[in-house]
Symmetry: C2
């Protein structure tokens, strides 16, 4: 089963009122909580469709604010700022996973049409809740155990085997807040290193490769899948996406079935990024999901008719979802830190499409841009 | 001769200092005089490459200002505003043909790197000067005569034949400021209708079709051509572009030779739009040129790897020009006035890519957006 050219599944959302006032007409205003590169690319996609964008960010030089009609400079949970955003916007979304879920709840309570909703964000923010939610939906993951303190380590090793990977439940990203441990003694050190409390242990998946699937669900319940892609991480940070992945139709169908189950379990609206392990035995295990546009979908900017950013805007604005087929074979490479200084060479490289995020300071490993290299399918 | 994949001609510009300080690094600021849809799409292309954009426009709700990092709200010739823009920007361009050429001269005098320059704009703003400049460069046009008053009409009919088309020298666009006349008596009426002074008469070209060529020249003198396209006008307004045009390699080469001659004669930097008549005998006559990105190049947004907007930003920023080959057969249709209300249907049409400009009021015949319909080549 390949990517859908047109969304095939149109089960109505559980929430009928979700369609009231939608689709949003061009000229409507879309709010984005967070001002990073994902917000920047969302804002540009929204502008293409004739929308105005209002960004909420505490950062004066935020990449998204520089392409938005309006920016509210405040913290993500500032009550006055949230009230202003709710008043300005016909739909509100977020681009940053560490926005407090309570901020989305407040926006919704103020009458804002928030998508994805606070529940999806809250689940994704807590690695333990995420695993439990996935398990509850019947979606396979690696084995895991909550670790409230060192006392639980021995039991975890006994039940899950060794080695284990210790993770903070909240706040980690790009490989931060994680540490490996071969035994309970190392586990105690690891736990101390990542902060000691509110942690979990996971089995280490002996995977053949890492895959990612970008999916979308509209306000009418329509679902669309982009082709499955392969991810190459280094030090916990995505370095490269190969799109589409070399994958059998059966594997693609299996990944889509997982995504569909998750979208329905979350009663989700918007684009979601799902990271998976393909185990050596062939099983697909979900590692984590991001309730937003995702780095593993940047290849769609140059590889698909409708990219993940426009798709997300379409979904939250109640527009029909767009086609998702790959028009080219794309290798997406993140430009980290000073790698972006290579823009001059990249701009002259045939078949290379450069995206730069307008970030001032090229700190080590900071995502400064990416390049999509295209080949015919 | 097809479109260039990579710019083939790299004659250095006459002005060596044009390269000092270039290419501009991402993070630099690009100024745009004018705030319409062309500025909006230029600003989005600049943001993709990591640039900030500053817009100068008198209109509080200008489409470009809503995707720009900064907007100076003032008239295009406001001295304080021009000084502020020159101070902010590492390169300045314009998107509106009726910007006073003197404003560009002032910016240049303030040290701004303005491209295209005031001369190209001044020539294009005066239809008579434009024809004279084209003729002086050895580029064929229809026959023409200056008409300062009714007394010159009879001589013009005698020399050029009938009918004639009377045009104001300055200020007309989208078919405005023009009138046909079959004889000197009608000519007097036509002249009165269009304003009476500072006019010219042109022979009416019995053309087989109208063609357009989008070309670009970089700061290093490199030149790139997009494929020749066919234009369909109605009431003097572009309705549709068919890209690439059905055209022999000889015709394409002829059009490119004309464009190259014009770019060199103007010592031009940036994207230029050249409108031509293909006469029934096969000759190519230039009708007019626009020293900016052009409506006949909107198809490149979805039909080429590097569209005309990014190409213009690359050119004025001193970056290498990008590839210009068509990746698809594209039909671009302008959405005029209430036609843009059809966004809901267009958003669901397979193969149709909608661009909406964020304009508030859908006045009759106002360009509100466009749609690119793609087919495989």
């Amino acid at each position: 089963m390949g990517p859908t050219r047109r969304p095939a599944c149109r089960k109505p959302s559980r929430s009928g009122k979700r369609l009231a006032g939608f689709p949003l007409a061009p000229g409507s205003t879309i709010g984005i909580v967070g001002g990073g590169q994902l917000g920047r690319m969302l804002a540009m996609a929204a502008a293409r469709l004739g929308f105005d964008v209002a960004v909420l960010t505490p950062h004066g030089d935020a990449p998204a604010s520089r392409v938005a009609a309006r920016t509210i400079f405040a913290t993500h949970d500032d009550p006055a700022a949230l009230a202003e955003l709710a008043g300005l916007c016909d739909a509100v979304t977020f681009e940053f996973e560490n926005v407090p879920a309570a901020a989305l709840e407040r926006l919704a309570a103020l009458g804002a049409a928030v998508a994805p909703d606070a529940q999806a964000l809250a689940v994704a923010q807590d690695r333990l809740e995420e695993k439990r939610f996935l398990g509850g939906a019947g979606i396979a993951t690696v084995g895991y155990a909550p670790i409230e303190g060192p006392a639980e380590l021995a039991a975890a090793f006994e039940r899950l085997g060794a080695p284990l990977i210790l993770k903070t439940r909240r706040g980690g990203y790009d490989g931060k807040g994680q540490a490996w441990a071969a035994d309970p003694a190392q586990g105690r050190e690891a736990l101390a290193a990542i902060g000691g409390r509110g942690a979990m242990a996971e089995s280490v998946c002996d995977f053949a490769r890492e895959l990612a699937l970008i999916a979308a669900r509209g306000r009418d319940g329509g679902i669309a899948f982009y082709p499955l892609t392969e991810s190459r991480h280094e030090g916990g940070i995505l370095r490269r996406t190969v799109a589409p992945a070399q994958a059998s139709p059966e594997l693609g169908a299996k990944a889509q079935a997982i995504a569909r189950t998750l979208l329905l379990a979350l009663d989700y609206v918007g684009v979601i990024g799902i990271e998976m392990f393909e185990a050596k035995g062939g099983a697909l295990l979900v590692n984590e999901f991001a309730p937003r546009v995702h780095n593993t979908g940047h290849w769609t900017l140059d590889g698909c008719e409708v990219d993940q950013f426009e798709q997300h805007i379409r979904a939250i604005a109640g527009w029909p979802l767009g086609p998702t087929a790959a028009l080219a074979q794309v290798e997406m490479t993140n430009l980290l830190g000073e790698e972006a200084d290579d823009w001059r060479r990249l701009a002259a490289e045939p078949g290379a499409r450069v995206w730069l995020y307008g970030k001032g300071e090229a700190r080590a490993l900071r995502k400064m841009g990416h390049v999509n290299r295209l080949r015919p399918l």
